[in-house]
């Protein structure tokens, strides 16, 4: 892990709410090595969205970052001026959202938008247009020449998502952040988009940070998986290790709950009883202790440390310490 494109160290994010300080992220360490696809998986309230918005520096006004650094291509994004940040996001760093209509301007044609986002480049409009056509071709849009004249609402959901991927990749970013890009799509389209992302990643040589709650999608696409729970990373490792050899009790339970993991038909499906802890009022110790059926005394008092469970597979749990 020598060449990391993104290096997050000790990142915490708090939100100021009426009920007090909500600690949405706590001491996150995360590395993305160049050319890899890293998946972040977790349920609602785990802090996935906060993590993404803090990387692109679009946190809400009531958020603050008490500590931590986000190093991208050797510079700390949190210390950059907004001007410099704007230059990085959109060229070296881009993002694809769950709802493509939220990134596409409904009153401009696809072509106009694709040419507009190349405003940094001083070349002629003709070249920019050709580039847009090439890009649309790459994301598998049939007859791109005529599609440029279309407006976003004239395309289907799958096509819209392809266009937003094309726009995100146009500047040749070194890191693409994908925030549940296939959640709104039907299963047969989801497979198509995942395949496309994989092909483009190899072709353009970028890294992808892929966020999803869908275990199957993560397993299909990613090389490395990060499991988040209630604002902390609890386990990380290679996709194979996480799905075949999970170690953290939360990961184990989460995988058990997925009906896809149960090969024999059964009426009674497992679930994780209890709710995630109140992030405005944390009591210390392990974050999962109140829902964990193996918790021991130490879990109440001590925050678990990172332990290497197997090669490059890290778990934050007292039970793993040997």
């Amino acid at each position: 892990m020598s060449d990391n494109i993104l290096k997050i160290r000790d990142l915490s994010v708090n939100y100021q709410t009426d009920r007090g300080k909500l600690k949405a992220l706590r001491n996150i360490d995360l590395d993305i090595s160049r050319g890899s696809i890293v998946g972040v998986v977790g349920e609602s309230g785990c802090g996935k969205s906060t993590l993404i918005t803090s990387i692109i520096r679009q946190l809400d006004a009531n958020a603050d970052i008490p500590n931590g650094s986000i190093e991208f291509e050797k510079q700390d994004l949190l210390k950059l001026s907004l001007d410099k940040m704007r230059n990085i996001s959109g060229t070296q760093l881009s993002i694809v959202f769950q709802d493509p209509m939220s990134t596409l301007n409904p009153v401009l044609s696809i072509g106009r938008q694709m040419i507009d986002i190349q405003y940094r480049d001083k070349t002629s409009k003709k070249i920019k247009k050709q580039r847009s056509i090439d890009m649309l071709n790459k994301v598998g849009i049939p007859d791109p020449q005529s599609q440029l004249k279309q407006y976003p609402h004239e395309l289907s959901g799958g096509m819209q998502q392809r266009v937003s991927i094309a726009m995100a990749l146009q500047a040749g970013p070194s890191l693409l952040i994908a925030d549940e890009p296939t959640t709104a799509l039907d299963a047969t389209l989801e497979v198509q988009i995942l395949k496309l992302l994989k092909e483009l990643q190899v072709e353009m040589g970028c890294s992808i940070l892929f966020v999803s709650h869908h275990l199957g999608v993560i397993a299909e696409l990613c090389d490395h998986v990060i499991v988040m729970y209630a604002g902390e990373i609890v386990e990380q490792g290679s996709t194979y290790e996480i799905f075949n050899n999970p170690a953290h009790p939360y990961t184990v339970k989460l995988l058990e709950c997925d009906p896809a993991s149960i090969s024999k038909k059964q009426r009674l499906l497992p679930s994780i009883p209890g709710e995630i802890p109140d992030l405005t009022n944390l009591s210390g110790g392990c974050i999962f202790k109140n829902r964990c059926d193996q918790s021991i005394d130490r879990c109440d008092k001590q925050t678990p440390k990172w332990n290497e469970f197997s090669n490059n597979h890290y778990v934050s749990c007292h039970l793993i310490e040997s």
């Binding site: 799958g158 039907d186 299963a187 198509q192 989460l254 009906p259 009426r267 679930s271």
Partner: protein, 326 residues
Amino acid sequence: MNNILSIKNLRVRFRTKSPFQAMLQKIDDPFIDAVRKVSLDIKQGETFTLVGESGSGKSTLALATAGLLTAKEGQIKFMNEDVTNMTPSQIMAYRKKISFIWQNSIGSLSPRMSVGSLITEGYKIHNLKDRDLKMEADRLLKLVGLPTNIKERYAHELSGGQARRVGVARAIALDPKLIIADEPTAGLDVSVQGEILNLLNKLRDDLGVSLFVITHNLNIVRHISDRTAVMYLGRFVEQGQTDDIFAKPRHPYTLALLSANLTPYQKTSLENRIELTGEVPSLMDRPNGCEFHTRCPFSSKHCDNEFPPIHTFNNHQILTCHYPLN
């Protein structure tokens, strides 16, 4: 076993152009068929699931069954009574015997009403004055596993899982014979969806209701459903026992859906996974012949022009395809 619900050749259509527009633009048929010639039977105490992608007509079929949309053709029989042809008092009796669990769990709860009044509203609507509403509310909340002090809350103060349970409590309040559940796990976390499904299953076992579940989540279908139908462009392309459909899909579209169902574990026992290209055609522009031929990897000239015949396997697995898989 008796059929509680029996649908024959149901057709539901929507108007796309007003009569005036249609006249001006010389369109003979300003309608699209959202549900086309659908037939199904649901037996007492059975779970029937309907799977399909968005726009396949799943929800339209559900709403038509519940009587919120009127059918153009066909017949819906509920406990041997014709639903499409009822007097107002019969309709009220019908409303008591079927209930609906909505996909949008929070949005389907009236925002200015407390949970307590929401779940007991059915008693007021149907004038059941002998019920003690407070006691009924407590009983229902207990049945769905919610604390009784949640009665005072409003919809926007509930979590997704809680709102879903309140929806279930409301659905079982009047002891219905059939519960229609539209995407009962949509928007729920994996760790919570099991609880909701177990609850539905338990109610089915304890109260003997039939369940009509609509979902796109194949992983849960496998576990909760007795029989399954697969819908594409408003038609059933395949229906049969759930176990058989999952073990041996005969229609290429069913196989494609199963192939697209990504799981983190070893690939399902399907030897021949297939991937579809292209997108679902528009209902305004239905393909000729077999309506799936534009995306089917096995299609031939035959499929382009001729509507496929109906095949039956093992007496129950019904599908419409020229070349069923073996």
